[in-house]
């Protein structure tokens, strides 16, 4: 246990040295200051939310459905505007930030184009940016390899299982090497086995990257604890951030963590915080 903590500290220090960022005083990728969101129909979806999101973190947002998780994401991506407070994304407004191609998205549905093969599907973001074909296909092959689908470049989405489609969706998000990856209940529709193997893959990809921050929505407390460096606990009516719980467990994490006593302690503290 002690040794693990030691390695975590040293690997953190290495990571910090490699990226040139001090982990303890990082530059914030996203800052929410007293954010409110009232929809035109009067629904108060989010109330006075405060949150700082640093580089190279893994944030999970947990909470019952309707507590404003997706709304927070939509404000960060600029799909909807906040109605109060200050929101900064990559140091600017959300709509401006999106234009820098540093933000990527994975939704609950894989949202693949059924008429395009996997290579075309994953390189769509580059195609929309008019990146030359050769370059975008090189990048496409890179990310398909990253998610273990490099033999399927010419396959069509209809030929894949649900888990594989989600891998493609993740690959597409990774193609522009984003600083910020937003995932809204990406594994919600998958079976438990597929879900766990995708969790491990996601963690592997994230720790290899050393720079990317993942924001991940789930209503599964176990998933949240297993994946994140920080768990953001949200409560409904009105949607509020009630707690941010740090998960001090080193990466890489594996089966050992799922059965460790510390895991159930974390689960318990997240659960009790959800009930408040």
């Amino acid at each position: 246990m002690e040794r693990q903590i030691m390695t975590r500290i040293s690997s953190q220090a290495e990571a910090a040295a490699a990226t040139g960022i001090d982990r303890h005083h990082p530059q914030n990728l996203v800052e929410l200051k007293n954010i409110d969101k009232v929809y035109p129909n009067g629904t108060v979806a989010v109330e006075r939310a405060n949150l700082d999101i640093a580089e190279n973190e893994f944030f999970c947002f947990v909470g019952p459905s309707g507590c404003g998780k997706s709304t927070i994401f939509n404000m960060i991506t600029g799909l909807t505007e906040h109605t109060g407070g200050e929101l900064s994304v990559l140091g600017t407004e959300s709509k401006e930030a999106r234009k820098e191609n540093e933000i990527a998205f994975v939704f609950q549905e894989p949202t693949l184009l059924p008429w395009n093969n996997l290579l075309e599907n994953v390189s769509l973001p580059l195609k929309l940016r008019k990146v030359p074909k050769k370059q975008r296909h090189e990048e496409g092959e890179r990310v398909l390899e990253l998610v273990g689908l490099k033999d399927y470049t010419k396959s069509l989405p209809s030929q894949l299982s649900g888990g594989m489609k989600m891998r493609v969706s993740i690959a597409r998000a990774l193609i522009s090497r984003p600083k910020l990856l937003l995932m809204d209940e990406p594994f919600g529709a998958l079976d438990e086995f597929t879900r766990q193997s995708l969790q491990d893959e996601l963690l592997r990809i994230w720790s290899q990257d050393q720079r990317m921050t993942v924001l991940f929505i789930t209503h599964n407390v176990f998933e949240a604890v297993y994946l994140s460096s920080q768990v953001v606990v949200m409560t409904p009516s009105p949607g509020r951030i009630s707690d941010v719980i740090q998960i001090d467990e080193p990466f890489p994490r594996g089966e050992n963590f799922r059965v460790a006593p510390s895991f159930s302690q974390y689960v318990q503290s997240v659960t009790s915080s959800l009930e408040h």
Partner: protein
């Protein structure tokens, strides 16, 4: 090699049980299976065809009805053989009119749907008028077309165009407007231009709808051509099936009239099949789930 396979097929057709019991003749039983399934597929329609025309022939023969009142299939065949050249010429003229009008309405309807879908505002203001236009009976419009454009192929093509335009337009519009919201969000979040969203997302996603519109319109095109010829056709050998039907009716050549009618439906069924096959091929690479 080929001959050998044929023999095998013949053999296994007669001995289906034997071929199934031996794993060595797996290939052979597969072939048999294929042939048998194909035969079973077309068997009902072939039977129905034979029964229908057989009963028709038999009943009329027994009832001893005059061919100019209700012709027997054999009368129709004889009439078709006797007027072979006229029938062929008429069929050709009708096909030309129908396909020309269909092609024009395909191009114009799809283009117009795209333009309408570019802006909600344009669509909202224009679409009601399109619906109103669609409800005007074509028979009421044809005399005006003849007055403006004169009798002849040009008027026939316009009639075909009018009758086959709206199903393609409406279907394409519905298709363009039914793009999945998640997909639209995806394109929006990756900063796609409106142009990119239309051509890389909404049009391909609308393809099954467009194809459905084309299938409806291609048969309507033949109805339009025949109605057009009937009302705005030109006399003589150049006239199409509609013209031939009018002439046959006035001369009480009922068997030939039937021959013309059957030819018309044969033509539109053929074109329908071609459109269906082409669209299946076009859509086969995707939408496998939605095709079924």
């Amino acid at each position: 090699m080929e001959r050998k396979q044929e023999e095998r097929v013949g053999e296994s057709l007669t001995l289906p049980n034997l071929s199934q019991s031996k794993p060595a003749v797996n290939q052979r039983s597969k072939m048999t299976e294929f042939v048998r399934r194909k035969a079973l597929q077309i068997l009902p329609s072939v039977t129905l065809f034979v029964v229908f025309f057989g009963a028709w022939e038999l009943i009329l023969r027994l009832a001893d009805i005059a061919p100019f009142i209700f012709p027997k299939p054999s009368d129709i065949v004889v009439a078709a053989q006797g007027n072979w050249v006229n029938l062929l010429g008429a069929a050709q003229a009708t096909t030309t009119g129908a396909l020309a009008g269909f092609a024009i309405s395909t191009v114009l309807a799809i283009s117009m749907a795209i333009i309408l879908s570019l802006s909600k505002w344009i669509e909202k203001s224009v679409y009601p008028y399109i619906v109103i236009l669609q409800t005007i009976p074509i028979v009421a419009v044809i005399p005006i077309i003849v007055i403006w454009f004169g009798a002849g192929i040009q008027s026939i093509i316009i009639v075909v165009f009018l009758i086959s335009f709206f199903p393609i337009l409406t279907n394409t519009l519905i298709g363009l407007n039914s793009t999945d919201q998640n997909m639209k969000n995806l394109f929006y979040l990756y900063n796609a231009s409106r142009f990119q969203t239309i051509f890389k997302l909404r049009i391909p996603a609308a393809l099954p709808y467009i194809v459905a519109g084309l299938k409806i319109s291609c048969t309507l095109a033949f109805i339009g051509a025949i109605v057009g010829e009937y009302m705005a056709g030109i006399g003589g050998a150049e006239g199409g099936l509609g013209q031939a039907i009018t002439v046959a009716a006035t001369r009480l050549e009922t068997p030939y009239l039937f021959a013309c009618g059957l030819t018309a439906s044969l033509l539109s069924v053929t074109v329908y099949q071609i459109v269906t096959k082409l669209s299946e091929r076009m859509l086969s690479s995707w939408h496998e789930s939605e095709m079924k």
